[in-house]
């Protein structure tokens, strides 16, 4: 039986890597990811996890070591946060190209400046186009489950891509809440040992990652794009099988009270739960509002999204990052482009909020919905706006 325990979400993330029986962890501590790697180093030192824990000198090295380990056929895990993710940026792009199925947790944190250790999504949005599968967790249970599922998807011979599991820094990473932990033996039914297709082995040498001359580069990028888009069906299948075994259902897009909703809030990550409370309150007042959230961010679930918006008049898209100079946030931009040419096109209004650790409160979500209703009636509104910004 799975254990229901009160545990810090960061420690649950480490327990997930442990239950997945990882072989190699290469990581460098950085706030707010620190507790994840601290706990993993404890688990390895205490002999509870038989893995190589590589203390490296930087995140650039962490990701390099992860790629090497995965290329040698090891199940590989790492975790980082904003400045660490930025420092590994160059190597992050190499992992999908080498088809190394690394799983990385990003405890999302604002990317400077001004320097901030607090939560938003600017770190991961800077890696948006890196070619990894990317998911966003709403709560601690989902962090645990998404990590287990990530290994299964990453190592599928049809995928062989790295996966990033995003969890909000502090707002998730430092919260104690009830989580059902699966043990390694419970997980083993779902996650079989990694069976690599090709490995770096001195006895049978191969080359991985040679230069991509113009004659092959386009084809290599085409393959990277095809396999990432194609991974969606493997992801959906892996999530369905997880539900069968453990009873928790996972979909690329989750909806909440969207039945008959005219206006729908769109979120990613842990603010979704606060948004649910806002939806409940507004429904009590007779306002027909619902909520949608992206769990799968890359590959972007465009068909599911177009189906999900049927009958909805207006979307209020909440971004946790600014796409500077692009007049909006990255999620809203993607939503708009995904709807272009679609048979049903709700009006879309973009809101940016919760930057650098500022709370998005229930009242702020209510404010966004009210604005959206007003703009939708008029048929126009601002291209985007910041909610909760002090102007004086």
């Amino acid at each position: 039986m799975p254990k229901r325990v009160g545990i810090e979400v960061s420690l649950a993330a480490s327990e997930a890597a442990c239950a997945a029986d990882v072989d190699v962890i290469a990581a460098y501590p950085v706030t707010p990811q620190t507790h994840i790697v601290e706990h993993l180093s404890e688990l390895v030192a205490d002999g509870e996890l038989d893995a190589e824990f590589m203390s490296v000198e930087s995140e650039h090295s962490a990701m390099s070591a992860c790629i090497g380990a995965a290329a040698a056929g090891a199940r590989t895990f790492t975790a980082t946060s904003a400045p660490g993710l930025a420092l590994m940026h160059e190597i992050v792009f190499i992992a999908p190209s080498l088809r190394t199925p690394i799983v990385m947790v990003v405890a999302n944190r604002a990317l400077s400046g001004p320097i901030s250790i607090w939560n938003d999504h600017s770190d991961i949005m800077a890696e948006r186009d890196c070619g990894w599968i990317q998911t966003f967790a709403e709560n601690g249970q989902e962090v645990f489950d998404l990590i287990i599922q990530a290994f299964r998807v990453a190592e599928d011979p049809e995928v062989l891509l790295p996966v990033i599991v995003n969890m909000d820094g502090f707002t998730l990473s430092h919260v104690i809440e009830p989580i059902e932990l699966l043990s390694a033996s419970e997980v083993s039914e779902y996650l079989k040992p990694y069976n690599p297709q090709m490995v770096l082995d001195p006895k049978e040498p191969i080359t991985m990652g040679p230069v991509g001359v113009p004659e092959i580069y386009t084809e290599a990028r085409y393959q990277a794009e095809s396999v990432l888009n194609g991974s969606k069906k493997v992801i959906v299948k892996a999530w369905k099988e997880f539900a069968k075994l453990y009873g928790r259902s996972y979909k690329p897009i989750e909806t909440y009270r969207t039945q008959g909703a005219e206006v729908v809030l769109m979120t990613m990550g842990s603010v979704t739960e606060t948004a649910m409370t806002a939806v409940d309150r507004m429904r009590e007042k007779g306002i027909e509002v619902g909520l949608m959230r992206f769990r799968l961010w890359r590959p972007f679930p465009v068909q599911e999204f177009r189906r999900a918006v049927k009958g909805i008049k207006a979307l209020a898209v909440v971004d946790r990052a600014i796409s500077f100079g692009a007049q909006g946030g990255p999620v809203c931009s993607k939503v708009k482009s995904a709807l272009y040419g679609a048979p049903e096109q709700p009006q879309v209004f973009g809101f940016i909020s919760g930057l650098g650790g500022r709370d998005i409160t229930v009242e702020m979500f209510e404010q966004m919905v009210k604005k959206t209703i007003r703009y939708a009636k008029k048929g126009k509104g601002p291209m985007y706006e910041l909610i909760g910004v002090r102007e004086r």
Partner: protein, 179 residues
């Protein structure tokens, strides 16, 4: 849902006390969240930590702005922080103080219900240190009944190992002394 805000100074275990409360509630089959006021930890600086406890899943990630209960680990905080900020109408302040209730009310203009306890004195007797986080748990549980006092024992043992017994006896003493 009960929302609790704990005030203390960095190093006094405010965050730990909220963790212990949440784990005890979760072990009782309830839902709970515990989290610090996020930021760089600084020993001695005023800090806050938060707990939510409910019988149904908790669906909010806001900080606690309107607590039902405020716990004050260190009486010197009263001079620099308005601990009753946002406190609900029928809210309660669980306060570590060696002074009597009327003196405190007068000095700091506290009108809310109060449960004073001399936690520093109890902690010094049982732990030999003026660290009041576990002692104040006894006062909190007596005044509010948010969890069974017995439910605190396992989390305290898991957390404190060989000094758990001292912490448990300090908690129990505060439980006895609090009205």
């Amino acid at each position: 849902m009960i929302e609790i805000r704990v005030h203390g100074r960095g190093g006094q275990g405010a965050v730990t006390s909220t963790e212990l409360m949440a784990v005890a509630a979760i072990n009782e089959g309830k839902y709970a969240q515990a989290f610090p006021s996020f930021g760089p930890e600084r020993r001695g600086a005023p800090v806050m930590a938060f707990v939510r406890i409910a019988d149904v899943p908790i669906r909010t990630r806001e900080k606690v702005y309107r607590p039902d209960i405020v716990v004050v680990l260190d009486p010197t905080i009263l001079k620099i922080v308005d601990v009753t900020a946002g406190l609900k109408k029928n809210g309660m302040v669980i306060l570590n103080t060696s002074e009597n209730e009327e003196q405190v009310r007068k000095a700091f203009g506290i009108k809310a219900k109060m449960a004073p306890v001399d936690a520093t004195d109890i902690a010094m007797k049982h732990l030999g240190r003026p660290i009041t986080n576990t002692t104040m748990l006894g006062a909190l549980i007596k005044a509010t009944g948010i969890v069974d006092i017995k439910s605190m024992e396992t989390p305290l043992k898991d957390r404190f190992g060989r000094i758990a017994e001292k912490n448990i006896s300090a908690m129990q003493q505060a439980y006895k002394q609090t009205q």
